[in-house]
Symmetry: C2
């Protein structure tokens, strides 16, 4: 499926349907007809996204000496975005159709399928009368203050607050080059055609690193960060062979960038970008030093040099990565035998990403001792991980419900646990593995360390 045009809409529909049915993702404002391009994460989606963000933070900030975290405001001053070039420069070329009054991205007219207005696809109908392309700003604006006199923008990327606080972080943390500042947070763009589920939305979350370095290290560090980020994706369950690395050629990169890699994933709707790793030179600090009139140079105490650091930016889309995790995990397995068809739907998340780490069942709801032990196990595990307790229906059906949301392990308290079948099995439970469906028995007191070693 390395061809960009190969898509699998049937698979995509199944994933979207499962996400709604099991509470991963709902459309925002659905009760009122829906807010186009905005999504709410339901209980399981919120946990999946938390797992992704926590893992990124752990690997990027906690486990590294050279990266510090921050968490900046969404509301952004006009001056910041003037300096950064977003006011004036952050726009898409758009064309208007004089016939249907619609507005469309000029750069995607050919592939555009107008589902809402099927009678007037832009350019496709002889009735269409398209204007020349015009720039259309992608930022969302708001006003505040007592008389609404102050303008602010919803940040179009988390990066700018990092550049603006770079000096404060430097001064308060005694760090030396190279060092990075990392941030996870919401950004907003007025996408004209939000599409492909949560892939392209108006409100989205980013996981960005601005890694400051000496100018001569920029190109080397860009390659190193590319490798670091590819390892990250493999660790969360997105294998290297499903990723495509674009080395953006001269002339197609942003004018200030000396190197840009796009990391793309094979989504069911085509190969699309997950992350960009860009060597942005000293462009950002330069424009903010100029715009603010304040010096942003770094003083190297060893070489006694004063200079603007260069920056490498690995910038990942959080919602896109959630979607990649969902797409990669989704599987339908044919289990039928004797001519009967039986399809098992299973989300093969890595245990570290799975919204629920373990489910605990008493074999029989009416067996008080089984229920008591199952509840005890649940309580013992709950401070450490997400546990789901279920006593409804046959155990086989309970397994299947957990398969569908990707729970890697199910524990069943049964008659063996009570020692009623075989005294040697007393105090053990059945551990059932999601992927292989194999079962083994483990003593209750070994469950916590056994699970902790597997789900983190």
């Amino acid at each position: 499926m390395a061809n960009k045009d190969v898509t699998d809409p049937v698979r995509m529909e199944k994933i979207v349907s499962l996400c709604k049915r099991r509470g991963f993702i709902f459309q925002a404002g659905e009760l009122y007809g829906g807010l186009n391009g905005c999504w709410d994460y339901g209980p399981l989606g919120a946990e999946l996204k938390r797992n992704l963000k926590d893992y990124w933070w752990r690997k990027t900030v906690q486990e590294r000496d050279d990266v510090l975290g921050m968490d900046g405001a969404i509301l952004t001053m006009e001056e910041v975005l003037k300096s950064s070039g977003h006011i004036g420069g952050f726009s898409d070329p758009m064309v208007d159709c004089k016939t249907c009054k619609g507005r469309f991205r000029a750069d995607s007219l050919e592939s555009f399928e107008c589902k809402e207005k099927p009678s007037v696809c832009p350019g496709a109908s002889p009735k269409c009368e398209l204007t020349e392309p015009r720039d259309f700003n992608l930022m969302l604006q708001t006003n505040f203050g007592a008389t609404g006199e102050q303008i602010a923008y919803l940040r179009p990327e988390t990066a700018q607050s990092i550049f603006c606080q770079y000096k404060n972080v430097l001064d308060s943390n005694r760090v030396k080059l190279p060092f990075g500042i990392a941030q996870i947070g919401k950004s907003f763009r007025n996408e004209i055609n939000p599409r492909n589920y949560i892939f392209r939305s108006r409100e989205f979350e980013q996981m960005e690193i601005e890694y400051f370095c000496r100018p001569e290290d920029g190109l080397r560090l860009t390659d190193e960060w590319l490798e670091t980020r590819l390892c990250f994706y493999a660790e969360i369950g997105i294998p290297r062979e499903k990723l495509h690395i674009l080395d953006i050629p001269d002339g197609e990169r942003a004018f200030y960038s000396q190197k840009t890699y796009d990391i793309e994933y094979e989504f069911p709707f085509g190969i699309q970008e997950l992350e960009g790793v860009a060597y942005r030179t000293d462009y950002d600090l330069g424009v903010h030093a100029k715009g603010s009139g304040r010096p942003l140079e770094y003083f190297d105490e060893e070489t006694k040099e004063r200079f603007l650091p260069h920056v490498v930016e690995p910038s990942a889309g959080c919602d896109r990565t959630v979607l990649a995790l969902l797409c990669e995990a989704f599987d339908e397995e044919e289990l039928g035998s004797d001519g009967k068809s039986d399809i098992r739907t299973v989300m093969r998340f890595m245990p570290s990403m799975a919204p629920i780490k373990v489910a605990v069942f008493p074999l029989l709801k009416k067996n008080e001792e089984q229920v008591r032990i199952a509840r005890e196990i649940q309580k013992a595990l709950q401070p450490w991980m997400n546990v789901f307790y279920d006593d409804g229906g046959a155990v086989g059906r309970r397994y299947r419900r957990q398969d569908e949301v990707g729970t890697p392990f199910c524990l069943t308290v049964d008659f063996e646990t009570l020692g009623e079948e075989d005294p040697a099995l007393k105090g053990t439970v059945t551990v059932r593995h999601r992927d292989s469906m194999e079962q083994e028995r483990l003593p209750v007191e070994e469950l916590l360390p056994w699970l902790l070693a597997r789900v983190r």
Copy 2:
């Protein structure tokens, strides 16, 4: 200090200064003069806030069977906020001064100190000419869509997306009353007078629970949630005796609320609200059922009744709680002896809230073996907690730098560790306790479990 008017501006100034100096909190857009009422969390502030949010999520969602999480969009449809009453009803009474053109909250004119325009305090100067109070809407609006034709608001509270998705969560999760939906996220209000540091800001984060129940259980569950929330504050280091509970009397509550408690904390700038626990009856689901024209009733399978659940809402301010943690932790201790003054500044965070859990030092930077062991300890602990490595300056000064940011434990690799002084001490390190400044020795291999038992 139980008197609301008792304040300690000197203490508050010291806390603000420490937060800037050590990288807890910076003003948003400071490089360009600052965006009033918006704040960026620096490296340590981001960790402190993460610890608070993670602990809240763990206690509220992960460790409870009856509460599910969600994570909704900030952009909110106009229809949602019309139903909720925010459009039309969510406003402050304001007066304008015809002399200085300023706008002020009518309900706080008496206590208002006009620092920006000291010559014209509203009502205080004979020059002032104030208008009658007028309603001023507190929501931030934005426009999007191809022609900017669609209106959306930045949510003024996270609660509304919970109410709007209540049915989807119910349908996708097979839950029974009583159950709750919890959410952490940003909200926005056009505060006219943002003040008291991060206490009242235009962009803020909330930690909200909507707990749905049978009507006859509402009052009892309100009292239970109040108790649960008070325990939570004690667990994170805000003791019960610093909290004040206001039982809002009839006539002062929102018209739909049958019971409302405010939980207030003794900030250095006065006693102010941290959280509200409100019994909101079926008001919210009622207005959304009516506004959307869709049924939101719950069907009780046991009693065969169909009814709108009532709701209890414990709604906490995340930034306010961060501020309370900072204020509660800040301490200056007089350590001088022999007539010399020596003041130790120490942030007495609970270990679970501390941004850095443990610092690791080699006694001597030039001792390669000490450095090697210190780095090994750091690497072994880092996957589990925030670790800070420091080899600069005298150990005493390193301790003090950690005290100032609230690191509960410092580990020093010294000559005893190498077995050079006493063979019995080989392989042990000095553990220094922040609060008591006492020291003990622990074997390196016991450090991880010893710390894990204390910092979570």
